[in-house]
Symmetry: D2
Subunit: 350 residues, 4 copies
C-alpha cells in the first residue's frame, strides 16, 4: 500500500476513542487525519481535553493535536471510526455517511437496521455486501458498518466455527463482565468492589438478538437470522478488562468435546487467511490447563484480539460446555472496528 | 426445653469451626461442652490456638476455653458438629458415631454413602429416616448426618419448591463463588484480585450428583435419585462471602416466570412450620429490583440463612431463568449443620 | 426524657443522609419529623427517591415517608441534621439557623468560621460555648454546629488525650481512605480497583487546619488554635468503609510507647461520663495483636463510633508512632453529628 | 561483548525466579546455562515443575529445560542469580561463592554482613569494592552481592540524590505494599480483599537499617552507615504489583520543593551514564499530575526499573513530602539483581 488512507476518530476523548487512537497511531494502512470530539472539547489540545486512561505512551504521542468538532463539514475522511455515544451517533453517523465517509461504528444506534452490516470479520465477512443496498436505498456515497456489543462479539467468535461445522441449535451463556464495559466513570467502586451485580441494562437482549443476526445467512441482498435459541445471563464482576463467559451449547449431531475442540483449533477464517494487520495469528486460543483461561492473566494476549477457550467438556443439559474469554474494549470495541475497516478495505469497499 | 443438650465442635479452629462456635455459643437448645481440634492445638486456649476470623465478639466469648483432642474417648457429647477436613472426617466421624454421638458433618467424606442422610431441612427432611438403616447396618448407636456442598445447598433450596410444584427436568447453573468457600488461607490474593477463575476442583460434579440425591424420594428405606439433568459451571470471583448462581430451569408444563415466582414466594417448608431456632422466617427472599440480589448487600440478611432470588424471567433455551444467592459458610456450612441438628432433635432422633 | 425532640434531616437521600436516618429512626431522644431533599426529590416517597445503600432494613422502615423540600419555611424542627453538599449548605444552613433551628452540619461550608463550633464531643466540648457569640453576632435564634472532616475526626480522637497529657508538638499522618469518603457514586471502580490514588482534593489542608482548631483552647469567647505542626499525606485505597491512618507524633517530654498506651487506655471524656446514647463505651479501642487494627475486620465495632489504635511503638524520627482506624461515614459523619446534638442537648443548648 | 556470560538461576520456580528467567532469557550479556531448584523439582521440565505466573510467553520459552539440583558441584556458572528463600540461601550461597561464582542474591541472609555489598547501582556503586575484602577474609574466589528489601530499594533511589545534594537528616516513610511482595501464595485473599493490613513482619526494621547502610560511605575497606533517622510504617494493601510510599524528609538547609524537584530530575547516576542494559533511561520519573503516580497505571513503565515521584510539596513537620512508587518484584527484586550483575561486570568484577 503506497499511501496511507486518512481516517478520522469521532469521540476521541473517551476510553474507546483512546483505544482507537492507540491502535491507529502506528497503523500500517491508516493515518489519523482528524481527532474529533464534542463541541465542549473542540479547539483544545488532546492532552488537555481528557485524561489518558490507557497504558503506554500517553495520548499515543498525539497529545499536541487539536481536537476538532465532530462535524462532517469540517473533520471528514474516507474512513471514520466512531466511538460516539448511541444518542449522538444516531445523528452524526448518517451525516458522515451521506458526506461520503465509510463509518465504522462502535455504537448501538444502527446495529439492528436491516441494511447495516453488523460485522465480525471472522464470522460473517459476506454481510459486508449489505453496504451496496444501504447506499442505494439511502442515497449515501459512504455508509455505516457496525460491530456488535462486546459480549456478543466474544460469543459469536466461538460459535461461528461450531455453527459452520455442526449447526448450533441452542446456546446458554452466563457472562462475568469487566467494569470497563460500562465506560468511564461507569460503575462506582462502592457498587462493584467485593460484589457481583446480576444485571446490565439491555445487555441480555442485545446478545440474544445480535447473535442470531451475526450467524445469519446473506441471501438476496439481505440477512436471514439464524434459527437458534440464545439465552444470556449477564453479570458485572470486579474485573478491569475482559469478559468471561460460561457457555453451554446444543449442537446438531451432538459432537463430543474432542470434536468441538478440533473444530475450534482448526478454524482459520478470512482475516487470518488475508493476514489483516489487526487479525490475531489465530482467532481462538485454546487452553489446556484446567483453570484457564483467566481474565487477568490471559486477556491481553495478541493485543486483546484473540478469544480464549478452555475446559471444553460434556454438558449434562445441552451437550457441550466451555469457558470463554475475550477483551471487551479491544476485540469487543476499538480493535473490532479497526479490523472491520481492514476487511472492507481489502475487499475494495473503501 | 428445660435443659440444654451438650454438644462438641470438632475442628473448632478453622473458619467453619468458628462459625459453629459463634452459632452455638448462645443457642437456645444446645450448649458447647467441648471444643476439639487436632493434636497440635489440643491443650491450648482457644484464643491462643487460632486467630478469630469473624466479626463480632472474638472467640464468641470462649477464648479462655481449653481445646481438647478430637477423640471420642475424651471429647464426646450426644450431638457433635464436625468442621473437620474430609480426610480426617473419614476416620473420626465413624468413631464418634460408634461411640454414640449424632455427628452433623460439614465434610464431604460420607455425603454420598447410601445410608447417610444428605440433608437440607427445608428440602428433604424425610431423608432423616435413613438413620435407622444406618444404625442397624453399621451397628452404631449414634450416626452421621451430612449437609451438602455449599453451592448445592443454595441451588436445591430454590429447586425444591419448583420440583414439588412442577417437576424439574433440567437445570443449568453457573456459579460465581466467594473466596471463603475455599477455607483459610484458601485462595491466594495474587490469584483472585481482579480475576475470575473458571474452575473449582470437584465442585461441578458435587453439585450435579448431590442435587439428584437431595431431590430424590425416600422409599423402602432408601433414597432414589431424582431424574433430572443438572449441569454446573463453577467460578471463583473476588467476593468474600456468598455464592451467586445464575440458574436456568426446564420445568414440566413450562410455567411462566410469574407462576414460578408465586411458588417460590408461597413456600413454607417444615423448618419454618416448626419454627426451628436457626430457620429464617422465610427460606427464600424474593427481590423485585432488577439489579438484585447482590452478594455484598444481601447475603448477610437473616444471619445468612435465607437464600435470595431475583430477576425471574423467560429463558429462551430452558424456559425460566433467575438470579440466586446464598451464604456459603452460614447456610452452606455451619448454619446448615446446626439447622440439621435442630430438625433431628425436633423429630426425636437425638 | 419524657418527650422526644423533633428533628429534620436535610439531604436524606444521599449516603450520609441515609446514615442519619438509620441512626435517628430509633433514637431514644430524637424523632424524625421531616425528611428533606432537593426540589427534584421533594414530593416523592423516600423509597422512590433513592436507592437504599446501607445494610439492614431498607430506608430504616421509613420508605413510605414523603420527602419535603429543604426549605426552613416548610420542613423545620428544633434540631436539624444536614447532609447537604457544601454549596447548598452555604445557603440553606444559615436560613435554618435564622429560623431558629440548631443545625448539626456535616458539610464543610462553615467549619472554619470563627464563631462556628467545629466539634468532636470527646475532644472539645467546651467549644460549644461559641454558640452564644454566634447567636449574638448573627442575630440567630438557632445556630450552626459542624463536625470536622472524617479524616480529622479520627485523628483528633487519638491526639486529644495525648495533647492533654503531654502536649503534641508535631504530628505526621498518612491516610489510607475508603471509597465511601467520596460519596456516591464517588470514585470510579476503574480508578480504584487494584490501585492507590495518592491524592484527595483539599483533604490534606483540611486535616492540617481543622486539627489545630479542634485542639485549640476556648478563651474569651473565641478559640485559639493549638500550636502544633500537622502534616497529612492522604490516599484513597480499595476499601469500602473506614479510614486507616499511620500516625507519628512528637510529644513533649518524649514519653514511651507504654506511657502513650496508658493515656489512651485511661481516657474517659465527657460523652462517656455523661453516657450519651451514641457514645461508644470507650472512645478508643486498643489492639494488642501486631497486625491490628484492620479496617475490614474492626471498623464496624461499636456501630462505628469508637476509634482503634494498635502497634504503639517508638518512632525513630518523631518519638512515637501507631496505627489508627476509624469509621469515616459513621464517627466521621452522621454518627459524629448525632453525638454533637446529644452533647448540645445534654448541656442545655437545645 | 563477543560471547555471552553463562549464568545460573537458583530458585527458578518461584515468582522472583520466574522474573529472573524472563529478564535473562534475552539478555544481551548473559545466557542462562542452568535453571536450578530444590531437590523436589530437580529432574522435571521447567513447565512441569511450576505454574508460570507472569505475563508474556510462558516460561520465557524455556519450558522444555530440565531443572537441576541447586548444588554448586552440578549447576554452576560464573554468575549466579539467587531467588532462594532466606534459610536455604544461608547455606547455599556461600557454597556457590566458595566454588567461584559471583552470587547476586535477592535473599535477606547476608544483606547486613559487614563485608557483603548491599547494592543499588544508582545509589552506592562504590560499595562493590567490599568484595575485595570479602574474598580475602573468607577465602572465596567468587563472592556474594545482595540487593536490599524491595521497599528500601524504592526509597533509597529517591533519597540518594537528595542525600548527595543536601544531606538527609530524617525520613519518615509510610508504605502501601503490593501482595506480590509476600511471594506466592503469600497473602490470603480473605485477609487482603477490601482491607489494609498495618503490619508486615520485619519490614520496618529492614527499611530503617538498610537505608543507613545504602547511603553510607565506603572508606578504608568498609562502609560507614549514614547518620540519619529513618522511620518506616509498613502496610499491605489490595494491589498486585508495586509499592506506593508516602515520604517526608528533613533535608539540610531546608530546600524548597522546587529545588528538590530539580535535583531529582537532573540525577543521572552511573548505570545511566554507563548505559547498562537493564538501567531505565532515567532512574526517576517525575509526575506533574496532582493525582499521580498511581501504582496500577504507572508501575510497569520502563519494565518496572524506574521509580516514580510526584506531588513534591512542603511538609509542615519535616520540610518536604512527596509520593513515591516503585516495582517491588522488578526493581525491588529480580531486575535489581540483574542490574547489580551488569554493574559488576562493567567494572571488571566478573
Amino acid at each position: 500500500m503506497s499511501e496511507k488512507i486518512q481516517v478520522a476518530v469521532l469521540g476521541a476523548t473517551g476510553v474507546v476513542g483512546q483505544r482507537f487512537v492507540r491502535r491507529l497511531a502506528e497503523h500500517p494502512w491508516f493515518q489519523i487525519a482528524h481527532l474529533a470530539a464534542s463541541g465542549r472539547s473542540a479547539g483544545k489540545r488532546y492532552s488537555e481535553a481528557c485524561e489518558w486512561r490507557l497504558d503506554g505512551e500517553p495520548y499515543a504521542g498525539l497529545g499536541h493535536c487539536v481536537l476538532e468538532d465532530a462535524d462532517p463539514a469540517l473533520a471528514i475522511a474516507p474512513v471514520v471510526f466512531s466511538a460516539l455515544d448511541t444518542e449522538v451517533a444516531r445523528e452524526l453517523e448518517p451525516a458522515y455517511a451521506r458526506a461520503g465517509a465509510l463509518v465504522f461504528s462502535n455504537a448501538a444506534a444502527f446495529r439492528m437496521e436491516e441494511d447495516v452490516p453488523l460485522l465480525v470479520p471472522e464470522v460473517n465477512p459476506e454481510h459486508l455486501a449489505l453496504l451496496a443496498g444501504q447506499r442505494a436505498r439511502r442515497g449515501w456515497s459512504g455508509g455505516i458498518l457496525t460491530n456488535p456489543n462486546c459480549t456478543t462479539t466474544v460469543l459469536v467468535l466461538a460459535l461461528a466455527p461450531l455453527h459452520a461445522a455442526f449447526g448450533v441449535e441452542a446456546v446458554l451463556m452466563t457472562s462475568m463482565q469487566a467494569a470497563s464495559g460500562a465506560g468511564y466513570p461507569g460503575v462506582s467502586s462502592l457498587d462493584l468492589m467485593g460484589n457481583v451485580i446480576p444485571f446490565i441494562k439491555g445487555e441480555e437482549s442485545k446478545v440474544e438478538i445480535e447473535t442470531a443476526k451475526l450467524l445469519g445467512r446473506f441471501r438476496d441482498g439481505r440477512v436471514e437470522d439464524a434459527l437458534l435459541a440464545v439465552s444470556a445471563l449477564c453479570h458485572r464482576v470486579p474485573v478491569l478488562d475482559g469478559h468471561t463467559e460460561a457457555v453451554s451449547v446444543r449442537l446438531k449431531g451432538n459432537p463430543s468435546p474432542e470434536q468441538v475442540r478440533e473444530v475450534l483449533d482448526a478454524w482459520r477464517p478470512e482475516p487470518q487467511r488475508l493476514g489483516l494487520p489487526s487479525a490475531p495469528p489465530v482467532p481462538i486460543r485454546l487452553h489446556e490447563a484446567e483453570n484457564r483461561p483467566q481474565v487477568r492473566r490471559d486477556v491481553e494476549q495478541d493485543a486483546g484480539m484473540s478469544i480464549h477457550v478452555g475446559r471444553i467438556r460434556r454438558c449434562p443439559v445441552l451437550g457441550v460446555k466451555f469457558s470463554l474469554l475475550g477483551h471487551n474494549t479491544e476485540r469487543g470495541a476499538a480493535g473490532g472496528s479497526v479490523l472491520n475497516a481492514e476487511l472492507a478495505l481489502s475487499q475494495g469497499w473503501v
